[in-house]
């Protein structure tokens, strides 16, 4: 058994458009996915995540590079000979077959004995809580139920890897949240590797062991949800996952608390955490997340405390979103948690109030400019 259940080695996929141009959908992507992992490919539409998934499934073949499943190079192996199964975005249920026939289809193709098929289909339907629905046709089911049939149909084959292409995209928010938890529980229960394609960062953070963030065909960063959120390795990742305030800056020097950067717009220097290989003199993007901006009456950390004024506040229940204007007219977002229950307006920030924005060095990230 190979250490990685799926490996993409320097995979490139180019498509010819009908106009005769060539598009690079996947641009030199390498990935290593471990056994039993819940792994997400996250990125905006057109970033190459679905194409990558389809190359693992065998619907597309790489232009160059190699896809390995359990250490075996796949080359041009067709989908029906690969030990992986897919849950499609549109579910792709066989409309002319019943729920039972849909789930049994893959086993029948494998020439599994009828008695075993019956047993395993029953098991799979129980797992997705659809027992008793065997004789329904797909169009008699709700969206959530169709989703479960698609899941059972793929899982019943006990694949090495389950590929999921935005499987919750068509469901409403409440159902989607429920299904997220259910999917994660199911994955832990069956112990199969899940590769999950999504453009929803919250979904990826909630469910994944590891995430690869993709943009324009490139894999930008791979890491745990905490790593991706707290130490994004470039401006795109910081911007795509969660929210962030950005300042343009210039690297000055490394010191014992991280690195110093000059921020011309703020007419100050900030100390922050350098991410990746940075050199003094280099142009950088300095980022701080809104919930990590501390608003106070007093400065608390030398040049990392910046004078500002409250422009606007939005009360959203758990938090209050505060728009600040700092020196030099730079505007940033700060989120204050409403930790005390009170109706006193003075407990919240008021527009026009003069404040200090404390940008503590551990919360300030210095990223290479894209």
């Amino acid at each position: 058994m190979s250490e990685f259940v799926i490996e993409l080695v320097d995979v490139v996929k180019r498509f010819a458009t009908p106009e005769g141009n060539e598009v690079t959908a996947v641009d030199h992507v390498s990935l290593q996915i471990r056994h039993g992992e819940f792994f997400s490919l996250l990125g905006p539409s057109g970033c190459g995540k679905t194409t990558s998934l389809r190359m693992i499934a065998g619907f597309e073949w790489p232009t160059s590079g190699e896809v390995l499943i359990d250490g075996k190079p796949m080359g041009r192996t067709p989908p029906f000979w690969r030990p992986v199964n897919t849950v499609f975005q549109s579910y792709a249920l066989f409309q002319h077959m019943t729920v039972f026939q849909n789930v049994a289809f893959g086993l029948e193709m494998d020439k599994t004995p009828a008695s075993e098929i019956k047993h395993r289909v029953g098991e799979a339907l129980e797992m997705v809580k659809l027992s008793g629905m065997e004789r329904r046709k797909p169009r008699q089911l709700s969206g959530g139920q169709q989703q479960r049939v698609a899941l059972a149909r793929a899982l019943v084959k006990r694949p090495k890897v389950l590929l999921l292409d935005e499987p919750l995209g068509a469901l409403d928010l409440k159902l989607r949240r429920e299904m997220q938890i259910e999917l994660k529980t199911l994955q832990e229960q069956v112990g199969i590797t899940f590769i999950y394609v999504t453009h929803d960062q919250e979904e990826a953070l909630t469910m994944s062991d590891r995430i690869t963030v993709m943009n324009r065909g490139k894999a930008l960063q791979t890491g745990s949800p905490v790593e991706i959120y707290e130490r994004p390795n470039c401006r795109f990742v910081a911007d795509f996952i969660g929210q962030a305030n950005f300042f343009a800056g210039k690297m000055l020097a490394f010191d014992d608390q991280g690195a110093r950067v000059a921020i011309p717009a703020l007419q100050t220097e900030l100390i922050g955490q350098p991410v990746g290989n940075l050199e003094p003199g280099q142009a950088v993007a300095v980022s701080i997340r809104p919930e990590k901006v501390r608003i106070a009456q007093e400065p608390a950390f030398g040049s990392n405390s910046v004078r500002g004024r409250v422009i606007h506040t939005t009360y959203i229940g758990s938090n209050t979103h505060v728009l600040l204007e700092l020196a030099g007219g730079v505007r940033i977002n700060a989120w204050e948690q409403n930790k005390i229950s009170t109706l006193d307006p003075k407990a919240y920030f008021l527009p026009g109030q003069e404040i200090w924005a404390n940008l503590f060095p551990e919360n300030v990230l210095i990223l290479p400019e894209d």
Partner: protein
């Protein structure tokens, strides 16, 4: 303004009148054929017919040349339809499922035989068959008919495949079905009614074809050509009308069924 025209349910009088005139224009000639299949006159028609008789049906049934022509037409239509089902489905699958350079051109070329005048197809086929030194026979008629039958099947199947999409095909392959199994268990059940509809339409088209057949047939006459040849012989004229009714029945029934099938699947 009149109340009836604002009601919305009934068509305004001129439109209704136009529709009725169009219907009569289309179908009165057919009714005339029906009527004069039972006239007592042998050679000339007068209106109203002096009397009605079932005699001509018996006479028609006794004519071996009629039976030969009918049998030939049924065989030609049957085989041309079968060939069209296979070729039309394959062509539709290629055009609907894959992306390749010149796909639009291929799609257009496939539809062309239907738009091309039969006389052009006929001349072209006759030249090609002569050049190939192929004797004119049963098979040359079948080839001639297959040209437009393929189009009819192709058209029906390609429309169905486009609506059917590719995702169920991919799901099938993903679950371990190879190309043949995917066709047999997933694609075929979904295009079966389109195939049946296309096949019946093709059969009906082939069964009453005259123009292309005159160019590609040897000594044989299909039923429509036999009718054509009967018109110049004034004796037993109502016999041709009886045969015309047979043709109407054989073509009308499949077209009605084909229409039903396409309607059902559109719902």
């Amino acid at each position: 303004m009149k109340k009836s025209s604002t009601g919305g349910n009934t068509a305004p009088l001129p439109v209704a009148l136009g529709a009725w005139i169009a219907l009569l224009f289309l179908h009165v000639p057919v009714l005339i054929i029906l009527l004069y299949a039972f006239t007592t006159e042998e050679a000339t028609y007068s209106f109203p017919p002096p009397g009605l008789t079932l005699r001509w049906i018996g006479i028609t049934m006794g004519r071996t040349d009629f039976w030969q022509a009918l049998q030939l037409s049924l065989r030609v239509a049957g085989i041309a339809t079968l060939a069209a089902l296979v070729l039309g489905t394959l062509a539709a699958a290629a055009v609907a499922r894959s992306r390749f350079f010149g796909k639009e051109a291929v799609s257009f070329l496939l539809l062309l035989p239907l738009a091309l005048p039969g006389i052009v197809t006929g001349i072209a086929l006759r030249s090609a068959i002569s050049l190939g030194n192929i004797p004119f026979s049963f098979w040359t008629i079948v080839i001639g008919h297959a040209t437009f039958c393929v189009v009819v099947v192709y058209n029906n199947v390609v429309a169905r495949l486009r609506r059917f999409g590719n995702s169920q095909v991919e799901a099938s392959m993903d679950l371990g079905a190879n190309g043949w199994q995917t066709f047999r268990y997933v694609i075929f059940p979904n295009i079966a009614s389109a195939l049946l509809a296309g096949g019946m339409l093709a059969f009906a088209l082939s069964f009453d074809e005259v123009i292309v057949t005159t160019f590609t047939a040897g000594q044989q006459s299909t039923l429509p050509i036999w009718i054509f040849s009967q018109l110049v012989r004034p004796r037993d004229r109502p016999v041709t009308n009886v045969v015309a009714i047979v043709v109407i029945l054989i073509t009308f029934i499949p077209i009605v069924i084909a229409h039903r099938l396409t309607q059902e699947s559109n719902e």
